[in-house]
Structures are given as C-alpha cells and as structure tokens.
C-alpha cells in the first residue's frame, strides 16, 4: 500500500496486517480504523481483535501511534480538538462510536492509565476514592476506606503511603504517582484496562508488582498494554501487536511474534535493528 524509506534504505511493503489479527471471543474489535490529527494521519486502517480475559501488548517505535490507538478504545481522543476517527470499533459487539453510546459510561467500563502520570491535585485518598464516589461504588465510608486500601495495596503503593493518605498525590515521586494512577483506575473495577507504559518510571521491584497485578487482573478483565520493554511484553501478554509509523504491521501470539516474526519490520524491531 505504501512504501516507507527505512534507515537501511530498504523498501519494505506494508500491505495488510500479517499474523492472526482476528480471533473468536473478542472483547474489542476494530475494523478499518483511521485516525487523523487535523490533516495528519496517525493511524492507517487498523484491524485487530482484542481477546477477552487476555493481555495484549502493543509495541513499536516511538511516535508510531500506540497511544493514539489505545486512546481510541475509550474515546479519550474525543477530547482532542481536531482529532477525527473513522472506521468501526466494537466493544462486546456494540459500536462505541455510535450516537447512543455514552462516553461517560464507556470510560467507566474501559479504564485507562495514561502515559504521563496525572494524579489529581488532591489527597492520595481522594485520588483513589474519586472514581468510586463518582459511580456510587462504595455504600459507606468504611467500604470506601477498604476499597482505597485494597486498590493501593494491589498497585503496590499502600505500604509507602499508608501514613500520608491525606497528603497531596502530586507530592509523590514519579513512579509512586504512576502506581497511584493505576490504583485509581482499578478502584472503579473496569471491564477493560488500557495501560499506556504503566511501568516506564518504575524500578524492577515495583514493575514486578504491577506485572503480577496485570496477570491476576487478566483472569477477570481484558488488558491492553503499551510498552517499550519487549521482555515485559513477553512476560505478561498472550498476544502482541506491532505498530510501525501508524500501521499495524503484525499481530500474533506473543510467542510467535518474538520467536518467529512474519514481517521484516517486526523482525528488525525485536532484534534491535530498528527503533
């Protein structure tokens, strides 16, 4: 479809997504999704299914559109001025961009951890409790306290902050803020969790806690994670999608992608020859 000049001056064709982009039992399925920022196209014709109770990893060089694609899945791109999306995105066989779809409800079902930690300028407690209060998830103050503690514990943050729950969340370190944002997201118990580089600011121990969390969550929930660490993708995900300059190049079982990539670009990337 398009020729892309590579570093090695190689011409490699991206016709259509190779591998196995479609599966049975899909939670999300996207067809012919194009995303534009104004005139500039950021995603070209993305077709992919995201399996239920699975973790899918999205990898690819910086600026290839991973965040953009992820943000389409909970209509977060609606908030960007001149961002236009075409194509079909279905959650449980229902078009999330149809008129009847309430984006507020959608975002309660599809939670998101953003690339940049963005705690509210409020206390740690309020950060975690906010979503639950919003959706009336906790009946009493005690329930809410329990929920906050549970969420913080699962995000591996509780021990560090249990004495300062009422201090501002913005006063935490970058990695702590990231875990706070994870706790905030899992507190509302969404069906799908979108995580944009959730461990990019974390040390190996905290990373391990989050990875364990993801694996345990994936028994009940569907998770899509963007990561720059191929080891992480290999450790946690069942399927992996490779993006390149806005194209979804290859989707397959994680094992297959890392051991036997089909596309030249995928191979270049995972072997470290590109990106």
């Amino acid at each position: 479809m398009i020729n892309i000049k590579k570093r090695e001056e190689l011409d490699i064709k991206i016709d259509k997504t190779v591998g196995k982009p479609f599966i049975n039992d899909a939670k999300f399925s996207t067809r012919n999704v194009d995303v534009f920022y104004g005139e500039k196209q950021a995603i070209f014709d993305a077709n992919i299914d995201i399996g239920k109770n699975q973790i899918i990893a999205m990898i690819g060089p910086s600026g290839c559109g991973k965040s953009t694609f992820l943000r389409c899945l909970n209509r977060m791109n609606d908030t960007i001025q001149d961002c236009h999306i075409s194509g079909d995105i279905k959650l449980d066989d229902e078009d999330i961009y149809q008129r009847q779809q309430d984006p507020v409800l959608l975002r309660a079902r599809v939670g998101m951890v953003f690339q940049k930690p963005n705690p509210f300028p409020k206390s740690i407690y309020d950060n975690v409790a906010y979503g639950a209060k919003l959706h009336g998830l906790a009946g009493s103050k005690i329930e809410l306290d329990e929920l906050v503690e549970k969420s913080l514990t699962r995000a591996g943050l509780f021990k560090e902050v249990k004495d300062s729950l009422h201090k501002p969340g913005t006063g935490l370190s970058g990695g702590q803020q990231q875990r706070l944002c994870i706790a905030r997201t899992i507190a509302i118990d969404p069906e799908v969790i979108l995580m944009d580089e959730p461990t990019s600011a974390l040390d190996p121990i905290a990373t391990a806690v989050i990875e364990e969390l993801m694996i345990s969550l994936s028994k009940k929930y569907t998770i899509a994670i963007v990561t720059h660490s191929m080891q992480q993708a290999a450790r946690v995900s069942q399927r992996t999608a490779y993006f390149h300059l806005g194209y979804l190049v290859e989707v397959n079982d994680t094992n297959t992608v890392f051991t036997n990539p089909e596309h030249q670009l995928t191979e270049n990337y995972i072997t470290g020859r590109f990106g």
Partner: protein, 426 residues
C-alpha cells in the same frame, strides 16, 4: 572537548555580566516604584492624619427652660423643637462677657460648630432631667478653630491675611488657658454622613455606600463572570465563529473607558427601566458591566492554565464534562479566578467616572440603609471633598483616601487568605 570548555568559559563572563545587568535593572525598577509609593503614602498620611482628631470646646451651658422656649410640658415634640441655639449662644456670651459689636458677636457664635445645637438637643432629649441645671459639656469646635489647633493658621501673619482675627485668637488663648479646648479622636468622621460643615462631615455614608455598591457588584459580577468564563473555556465549541465574535467583543469591552459604562447605565437602567438614580443598586449594576470583562478574561486565563492532563484523568475515570469541570478544573483555577475577581473589584472600588453619570455624585448627608437609598461612594466622596474650598476638607480628603486604601488592603488580604485556603486544599 577541551576546546568547548574554553569556548564556554570565554562566554561565561559575558553571560554573568548580562545577568548582573538585568538584576540591576530590576532592582532599580523596584526601587523607583517603592519610592513613588512611599512618597504617595507619606504625603497622604501626613495630610490625612490630622482629620482623625477633632477640636472640642468645653462650655458650661445653662439649660434653662425659658431660654429653650419650653412650656412646662416636656413632650418629645416640644423638646425636639426647643431653641438650643439660644442656650449655647447665651453660654458663650457669659463665657466672654466683654464682646461687643455685631461682627465680634457673630464671630463668637461661630466658635462652636453649627452641629452643637443638635448635640445639645440629643443630650437633653436623652436625659430631660437636666433641664433647669447647669452642665459642662464638650461641643464640636468650628473648623477654623480646629485648623488653628492643628497648626494650620500662622499667628505671625498680618491679621488681614488670617482666617482668625486677633480677638478670636485671644478667646482661643483664654480657652486654652482654662483647659477648655481639646483635641480628641474624631468619632464623627466614622459615624456621620457628609455635611457642608467640614467639622461635622463624616465618611460613614460613603463607606456604607461603597460597601453596598461593592456587594451588588460582587454578587452579580462574580457568578456571571465566572460562569461565562467556564462556559467559553470548557463547553463552548472551539473554532466557532460566534464564540470568536463573543471573545473579541469581551476583549474590546475591557478597553472601553469606564465613563461609557456610566452613560450606558444611565440610558438603560435609569432611562429605560426607570430605576431611581444615585442608589448603590444602580452603581453596582454599572460597575458589574465594567468589571465583567476583567473577571471573564482573567478567569479564562486561569482555566486555560489548568493542565489538560487533569481533565483527561477525570474523564478517563468516567466523570462527565460538568463533573470534570467543577470537581477538578475550577478548584485548580480558583486562585487565579479569585485574583482576577479581586483586581476587578479593586478597580470598581476606586471607580468614579461612571458613578458621576448615574448621579451618585449628589450631596447626600444621610447614611444609606439599603441598596435602594441614595448614597455616594468613597472615591466620589474624595472627589467632592477635594473640590471644597474649606481648608478642613483638605485633610478629610486625604483621610478618605486612607480609608479607601484601607478598604483595598482589606480586600487584598481577604483574597490572599482565600487563595491560601484553596491552595492548601489540594
């Protein structure tokens, strides 16, 4: 590498020199502004401070029912109408028995303020039992006496150039010798409305007028301005022609001379809706028109400065746009919004021109009781007093400026306290 170090080192001296120069510019700018501010404050307070004191004369008054022109019945009405002036004049005559001639007699009567008779009336009406006795009371002195007591009249000048003649100075000297002339704290200045007699003129009317006007302005402009800013910034469609037109017009309105708003208020509120003139309600309406652009523009700037990541965080958790705005964006922008509001209110508090247009410049001696009573405001009062020829009004003008500055300081303090509160909450 070594080459680079050398290059950077060579430049470093220049860069530091630049930094130092800039620091000097900044410091001298601050020094100049402080010097201006100080000279202003010193000038105003040295002129204004004397106004907080007022000269009183002690006179023994013979509260005789005949002099008062009272029958035996001391009904309230009769007491109210009694001739207190005569009592005071008689007492002054006994105090200075040697006075002769029309001119001197008139001057003698003018030692005490015109308000002395009302002072005596209130005293008698409060305790009617004093009728028939002799009482030693302190009366407000006339403004000339007051000015003299505060050093405003030079004895060494030739008599013809002085407001007080030699014989008057002699009386004052006698009173001083008897300890019957005294400067006291000027309570009247804070408890009375305006008056044609400077010694009786107080600032309470203007103070209450300003307070009521500000209250109306605040109650209208804050909610309207902040709502408009929130709508325009958070909800209005972007890149929409109508929104652009509104935005341009708001910016233009901020630059319109304030007197135009006065004319508009005159035409619309008084001319069309028939609201009575000179009242704080209409002053507040006009000042609301004037402050709205300021509040809207600064509130929008404050809302714009809230990082979009906070909005994303809330929306991502399933908050609606209204919830996102009111739970997160507005609280985060509140310090900025308050600053803008206070700047707008401070402008409104010091505004004179538009209020002249709607008749708040009328002479009003009564202290307003509500937003529909005729009144004036502090800056207009300052304007009125500064226009009066009597010397005693000069110090009152400065004192009124001090009160106005005090008001501003209190408002700014409140703003700081409120900002702190909002910033602490986060």
């Amino acid at each position: 590498m070594i080459n680079n170090t050398k290059k950077i080192k060579n430049q470093l001296a220049k860069r530091y020199a630049k930094e130092k120069r800039f620091k000097v510019y900044g410091l001298s700018a601050i020094a100049v502004s402080i010097a201006f501010l100080l000279s202003l404050l010193i000038n105003i307070s040295t002129t204004g401070f004397p106004a907080f004191q007022q000269t009183y004369i002690n006179i023994e008054v013979d509260i005789d029912s005949k002099l008062l022109n009272l029958n035996d019945k001391y009904s309230e009405k009769a007491l109210f109408r009694a001739n207190y002036r005569k009592v005071i004049n008689q007492s002054l005559k006994t105090l200075f028995p040697g006075v002769k001639g029309r001119k001197q007699k008139k001057a003698l009567r003018q030692l005490v303020s015109k308000g002395a008779r009302y002072q005596l009336r209130d005293f008698v009406m409060n305790n009617p039992s004093v009728i028939g006795t002799k009482q030693s009371l302190w009366f407000l002195a006339r403004d000339d006496v007051d000015v003299f007591m505060k050093g405003g009249i030079d004895r060494s000048l030739p008599e013809s150039d002085r407001r007080l003649k030699n014989f008057q100075l002699a009386w004052i000297d006698q009173l001083l010798a008897e300890n019957s002339l005294e400067k006291r704290f000027n309570v009247n200045f804070f408890t009375q409305g305006d008056s044609r007699e400077p010694e009786q003129a107080g600032i309470k009317g203007a103070m209450i007028g300003s307070l009521l006007t500000m209250l109306v302005t605040m109650l209208l402009s804050f909610p309207i301005g902040v709502s408009a800013a929130i709508y325009l910034e958070e909800f209005a469609p972007k890149n929409n022609r109508w929104v652009d037109i509104i935005e341009i017009n708001i910016n233009n309105l901020a630059a319109v001379p304030s007197i135009v708003f006065g004319l508009l208020g005159l035409a619309v509120f008084i001319g069309f809706f028939g609201v009575p003139r000179s009242i704080p309600l209409i002053g507040g309406l006009v000042l609301t028109l004037m402050t709205l652009p300021t509040i809207i523009i600064s509130s929008r700037a404050a809302l714009k400065a809230v990082p979009p990541s906070i909005r994303e965080a809330a929306l991502g958790l399933g908050a609606s746009r209204v919830q996102t705005t009111f739970h997160h964006v507005v609280p985060a922008a509140m310090p900025g919004i308050l600053t803008g509001t206070i700047i707008g209110m401070a402008q409104a508090l010091g505004e004179t021109a538009p209020l002249l247009m709607i008749g708040m410049v009328a002479f009003i001696a009564d202290v307003p009781q509500g937003v529909t009573d005729p009144s004036t405001v502090l800056p207009v009062q300052i304007y009125l007093w500064s226009d009066s020829p009597e010397r005693a009004f000069t110090e009152r003008t400065s004192a009124a400026i001090m009160v106005l500055l005090g008001f501003l300081t209190v408002m700014n303090l409140l703003a700081v306290i409120m900002r702190r509160k909002f910033e602490k909450k986060r």
